[in-house]
């Protein structure tokens, strides 16, 4: 089983090696640089499929590897994945090559740097999802900011520098307090270890837990982003180039939710229970607020950006409810959001490439001009508003069902968010796709190019597939989610009567009586 234990390491460092190779290519060899980036990320994706192949639906870490790194401090290179991280790793390796392919022709200057930063970003993202040592986690968590900062700042739109600096400062401000919290945990636990599993065994005094959880939660809440820490997101998403927006929305936003699941809740279970209602309330405010703001956006990219605030509100509601069903739903919803919002950003980028505008008012009647584009756009929009049969439905349904015992009020308000989502998305679809062609210039817009087909078809297919074959995915998420939930409460009780979700809702322990 040598491959099994080194697979994750290979996944993380293959992009780094790729980045080094691309950096050494001659400046003129633009095509080679693009190809190298695409080949490396595709290889990483192919290798990551081995994870799915070998992953057993059981709690606990798999594909683990441990190596002493700074033994004096109890810091080790410790990686591994469980059901919470498996699909997020796959999502990352899946979206990165698509992002490179999607920006094949729209990135035309400093291509070499672009590919280097994309590869480093992929390494950082994968590192965050596989790290099982706080120090290692923090290294990837922070290091990832730098390539993203450059991606926004160099290849972004008009206000790119402002957006890049805001993104960096905002995220760093959140995470540095978490760093101090790491050090305090280390001292409080007295285990001389930064290993998450070791620290999770060490009981931390409840009062201290509250402070530490708050420090962690701030870092993750900014990353999610939860209302009211979301103000960096519209700027960063809108100003980033398409590839940046896709990875920002598709992967980086997942790290907040993942951070709660991997660190904040297991390390401070009592504090998590105490804070859960507040997180739930903020999550639901985010759902409604994000939806309302999306309704009034005149800019396509801004609309998609604010819809992320709303969608991730669902994720956070699921996490806050601390029930297995809802946590599985939250993880699933993170994947869905990565796929549907990623695809939406790609498509907005395709419109932008054609017209150099993102204003909704500039479009109209595209259905007649770009039929194939319109069909896929509609499909993805429907997946984004959780129409049954598509992926979004499964996630939101599991979250709402699972959170019902947690708080009926919150779930009821959140359900309102589902309706609002339908409103802002469908209204946007109506204005962009249907009606008369309002602008003469739009009559000549070409439909999807082969390269664009190659980007969109996998995403659309996955949206469909994850809508009908959800058990394939949830089965692997569930044991880890269950183990997490058990940490926060007493002995499990059978969870009866809630098996009507498309794809059986996981057999699970209920959240609260």
């Amino acid at each position: 089983m040598r491959l099994a234990s080194s697979l994750l390491t290979i996944l993380v460092f293959l992009p780094v090696a790729g980045a080094a190779v691309v950096a050494l290519l001659p400046r003129r060899a633009v095509r080679a640089q693009k190809l190298a980036g695409l080949v490396v990320t595709t290889l990483v994706f192919a290798a990551s499929l081995l994870l799915v192949e070998g992953f057993k639906a059981a709690p606990g870490m798999q594909f683990e590897a441990t190596r002493a790194w700074l033994p004096d401090w109890g810091i080790s290179y410790h990686v591994g994945i469980d059901g919470l991280s498996l699909w997020l790793v796959i999502l990352t390796t899946f979206l990165t090559p698509l992002a490179l392919l999607g920006s094949w022709s729209s990135i035309d200057r400093r291509v070499r740097e672009f590919n280097v930063f994309m590869l480093l970003l992929e390494a950082g993202m994968l590192g965050v999802f596989v790290a099982l040592d706080l120090f290692l986690f923090y290294i990837f968590w922070e290091a990832m900011l730098i390539p993203m900062y450059f991606l926004i700042g160099i290849w972004g739109h008009e206000r790119r520098i402002y957006a890049a600096v805001k993104f960096f400062l905002y995220t760093m401000a959140g995470s540095v307090l978490m760093l101090v919290a790491f050090l305090v945990v280390y001292r409080a636990a007295g285990a001389r270890s930064f290993d998450i599993a070791v620290l999770a065994q060490m009981p931390v005094e409840p009062r201290l837990q509250m402070w530490l959880f708050a420090a962690f939660a701030l870092a993750f809440a900014i990353k999610v982003p939860m209302f009211p820490f979301h103000t960096w997101l519209p700027d960063a998403h809108v100003e980033a180039p398409t590839a940046g927006s896709v990875l920002l929305a598709g992967v980086l936003l997942k790290m907040g939710g993942y951070g709660f699941l991997r660190l904040a809740i297991p390390l401070f279970p009592q504090a998590a229970v105490a804070f859960a209602p507040w997180i739930g309330v903020l999550a639901v405010i985010g759902i409604v607020y994000g939806a309302l703001v999306s309704l009034v956006q005149p800019d396509l990219k801004k609309l998609v950006a604010y819809s992320s605030v709303s969608h991730l509100g669902f994720v956070m509601l699921g996490i806050a409810s601390l029930s297995t069903t809802a946590v599985v739903g939250a993880v699933y919803q993170m994947l869905n959001h990565g796929i549907s919002t990623g695809a939406l950003f790609f498509m907005v980028g395709m419109l932008y490439d054609r017209r150099h505008t993102r204003a909704i008012a500039e479009f109209g009647g595209l259905k007649a001009v770009m039929p194939w584009f319109s069909a896929l756009f509609l499909l993805i929009c429907l997946s984004s508003i959780a129409v049954p049969g598509l992926n979004g439905f499964v996630g939101e349904f599991l979250i709402l069902i699972g959170s019902w015992p947690f708080s009926r009020t919150l779930v009821s308000v959140a359900a309102l968010g589902v309706i609002l989502a339908a409103a802002y998305i469908l209204w946007m679809v109506q204005r962009v796709l249907y009606g008369e062609v309002t602008q003469e210039r739009n009559r000549a817009l070409p439909d999807l190019q082969p390269r664009e087909w190659a980007v969109l078809v996998p995403l659309a297919a996955l949206a469909l597939f994850m809508g009908v074959a959800s058990p394939l995915f949830t089965r692997k998420i569930e044991p880890a989610a269950n183990a997490l939930v058990l940490r926060t409460q007493g002995p499990p009780r059978p969870f009866a009567g809630m098996v009507s979700a498309p794809g059986p809702a996981p057999r699970a322990a209920s959240a609260r009586p």
Binding site: W69, L70, E113, E142, L145, G153, I154, L177, L183
Partner: protein, 482 residues
């Protein structure tokens, strides 16, 4: 050990003799020809570095000269660090000196003499010798700061540094006198028991320690003793600024740790809170000051103040923990500063102009991609973002503060790091996200400077990924503090 064992002094002697040789070589070189000052200095420093290696591997490393000069691991660590700083500073110098027209032998002589002072500063166990070493270092640097004789700001730097430096020396000396008055000795080992609270030395001893703290506060550039730093760093020749920010700071911190941590531990209940306050105001003052700067060297000067603050946060910890953290950070910080100032110096062109304002670096990433990448790495390290030596270093410093239950210091430290990200990133923005303006007038980065920058970058990156060995040495060195 009886008799005259000079082995621990060999590195300093080699450097001092090299300084004299460089001076003489200059005198005997015919007019119009340039003397091989740089290679000679380099050879001397490398020989001294080799001597440190030999001493580290050998026996008989106690204190010599009647207990005045220590050759413990702490000294050896600092000797290696200071000599390495000297080597990099010499490598950076020739192209800069030629470009700005101050390519004279005395530059190297002064540089070597200042290194001698630094070497002494970190290994003296007796306060008067320590003072002598401090002055050897300082006087050489005062002179070096004014080497741009035709530039008013350079003369101002020299004068200002000299006056404030002399002033701070007076504080230091007064502190030494008071300690001598209370304990009857200037040997650290004998001062320690006399200062123990049970021995009833009272206010006089405390006052002496406070004055020493002021003296060191000047040298490490801590707020409120920092007023000289921006002007001196800006006015001095850039390579001298690099040496000051890396070497002088390292040596001053070395002596500070040597004097305060173990010998004055009995009074730590009094000086630790004071150091904590200094750390907080220094971090805040340095970072807020840097925010307002548009001149690169001034910005880096304030950043150097801020970093003194970060370093001070660790000093409140238990002696060994504090020393370990500070030692590691000094290595990281030296590499970063030599790299940062070195990059600016390497761009100095034939007209003697060097990048001064932020705008001078506009579009550097397109014209000098490798240099811009290296400078970005240094700035990232200064910010304390992984993967860089600065991150590991700050992690270590703040860990020390937290371990002493001064978590508040760590909180101020990390929040101020976020503030610092703003002004460091501004440089990156200018280099990468602005178009170049006008013709490319900066000099190409040449052989020796390129090597120095590559070495600095390698250290910054290497310590960020694999800090193990240096951490181990820092730990050994910290253990040898008595």
């Amino acid at each position: 050990m009886t008799g005259l064992d000079l082995r621990p002094l060999v590195p300093a002697l080699i450097v001092a003799v090299t300084g004299l040789v460089v001076l003489l070589a200059q005198a005997f070189t015919p007019r119009g020809k340039s003397s091989p000052s740089a290679p000679l200095s380099l050879a001397g420093l490398l020989a001294a570095l080799a001597a440190v290696g030999i001493i580290a591997g050998g026996r008989g490393r106690g204190a010599v000269l009647a207990g005045t000069v220590a050759a413990d691991d702490f000294s050896l660590f600092f000797h290696a660090l200071i000599l390495a700083i000297g080597v990099l500073a010499v490598l950076l110098s020739p192209s800069y000196l030629r470009a700005t027209g101050i390519d004279r032998g005395e530059y190297y002589t002064l540089l070597l003499f200042s290194v001698v002072g630094m070497l002494g500063l970190v290994s003296c166990l007796e306060l008067v010798s320590l003072f002598v070493a401090l002055e050897i270092m300082s006087v050489a640097v005062y002179a070096m700061a004014g080497l741009h004789r035709d530039r008013p700001e350079s003369r101002e730097a020299s004068m200002k540094y000299f006056i404030t430096g002399a002033f701070s020396s007076a504080f230091f000396l007064y502190g030494v006198a008071l300690l001598y008055g209370t304990s009857g000795s200037t040997w650290l080992a004998r001062i320690a028991p006399a200062l123990h609270p049970s021995s009833g030395t009272g206010a006089l001893g405390t006052l002496g320690v406070a004055l020493l703290l002021v003296g060191f506060g000047f040298k490490v550039a801590s707020v409120p003793f920092h007023m000289w730093v921006p002007d001196v760093y800006e006015g001095a020749p850039t390579t001298v600024t690099a040496l000051m920010s890396a070497g002088v700071k390292a040596a001053a911190f070395g002596a500070f740790l040597r004097v305060f941590l173990v010998p004055l531990e009995a009074l730590s209940g009094q000086w630790r809170p004071a150091v904590a306050v200094l750390a907080v105001v220094t971090m805040i003052g340095g970072n807020l000051g840097a925010l307002a700067q548009s001149n690169l060297k001034r910005m880096l000067a304030y950043s150097s103040i801020a970093h003194a603050g970060y370093l001070l946060t660790a000093v409140v910890a238990a002696p060994r923990v504090a020393a370990e953290a500070v030692l590691f950070y000094l290595v990281a910080y030296a590499a970063v500063n030599l790299g940062g100032f070195g990059a600016l110096a390497a761009l100095a062109n034939r007209e003697g102009r060097e990048p001064a304002s932020l705008d001078d670096l506009a579009g550097l990433a397109e014209r000098r991609p490798v240099l811009a990448a290296a400078l970005t790495l240094f700035l990232v390290s200064l910010t304390g973002v992984p993967v860089s030596a600065g991150f590991v270093g700050k992690f270590y410093l703040f860990n020390a503060a937290v371990s002493a239950d001064y978590a508040a210091l760590a909180v101020v430290g990390v929040l101020m790091s976020v503030v610092s990200a703003y002004y460091y990133l501004r440089v990156v923005v200018v280099m990468y996200m602005r178009e170049p303006v006008g013709a490319d007038t900066w000099a190409p980065v040449t052989g020796a400077a390129r090597l120095a920058l590559a070495l600095s970058a390698a250290v910054v990156l290497g310590l960020g990924v694999y800090p193990g060995p240096v951490l181990g040495w820092a730990r050994l060195a910290a253990r040898s503090l008595r």
